[in-house]
């Protein structure tokens, strides 16, 4: 009888803990296509990652808005097209999520604006002048959210490991400095 009471009390305590201190679920780098609000999915000292959703508004206005935010943080706005089914895209996300030093160093000073191709479409899907034929692909933006013309995709490096990705992306992001 006492054992039952103890078990019951323990159960109630656990329920109470969960109610009083709910676990925070941090958003991952993977997209939530149905969302109508844009997501800030990572904010480090030197790197910000956001994901824009189609239902949240006009892409060009949103890019202009995000570019202003990037400028306020002293970061370079860059659009990245990705997809949930794309293993190379996941490899980069995983490296960032696990705080891989090589990747974080290469991506430092950037403001990555993620767009999922399943949500925004490919070239034929009317994604405002973003022309590409493979993902992941990165487009540098200016302070007004317009493309600068500098583009790079995964074809620029070989196998998808941080040791290959980091030097190429470091050169792309910081090479002009």
């Amino acid at each position: 009888m006492n054992k039952r009471l103890i078990l019951l009390l323990a159960g109630f305590s656990l329920l109470a803990c969960n109610f009083l201190f709910p676990q925070k679920v941090s958003p991952t780098l993977n997209p939530e296509i149905s969302s109508s609000e844009n997501e800030q999915i990572l904010e480090l000292d030197e790197l910000t990652i956001v994901r824009l959703h189609r239902q949240a508004g006009d892409l060009q206005s949103m890019l202009a808005n995000e570019s202003k935010k990037a400028a306020a943080l002293g970061q370079m706005p860059v659009v990245e097209f990705d997809a949930t089914w794309c293993p190379p895209c996941l490899a980069i996300d995983s490296a960032i999520e696990s705080r891989n030093e090589l990747i974080l160093s290469a991506y430092s000073g950037t403001y990555i604006i993620k767009l999922d191709v399943d949500e925004w479409g490919w070239n034929s899907g009317g994604v405002h002048n973003f022309n590409f034929d493979a993902i992941p692909v990165y487009f540098k933006l200016d302070a007004d959210g317009n493309q600068t013309g500098e583009v790079i995709d995964g074809g620029a490096w070989g196998e998808d490991i941080p040791e290959n990705i980091a030097p190429v992306m470091d050169e792309f992001f910081h090479g002009g400095k």
Binding site: C86, C89, E159, D160
Partner: protein, 176 residues
Amino acid sequence: MKLHYLFILSFLCVLAACGKSSTAVQRVSLSLASFTENYVDVSIRLEGTDSEGYFLSAIFTPPDGYHLYSKDIPLNGVEGLGRPTLLELTEYSQIRALGVLTESVKTMEPNFEPKELLVYPSGAVTLSLPVELPAGNTWLDDTVKVTFMACSASTCKPPVTGKIVNIRVPGVDVYK
């Protein structure tokens, strides 16, 4: 002289027998459809003979340096990643499958996680399905379904899922 006639007669008999057997075993090798979508060339063919059986096959050729994924991974990929390479009959298909889909090359584990996301080596893959042709001696309209997605070590092309392809197939008596 008599022997000479007998020899010629035997020779003619052999020739006649050969001619008969060559018409009986007529090998079919037909291109049923071909197209390129999302950078992958796809060619659908019908091969075989009446005695050995017929095979519906699809040759998937991705761009240089790109690979396709195993026919055996789930339709929605492994943990959402990748898409299988498939050749399927449709619900209304008049061709009947007589066995399982086979692949021309062996799959291998990828260099990254999840290891269950089996891939084919870079290059073309042929999938074949043993089939029974519809009855009759006429050609019929039919459809098949293909799924595929090409990736390299560092980039992916968009997937094609359950694309319906129109084909025209011969009845089983057309080649008898």
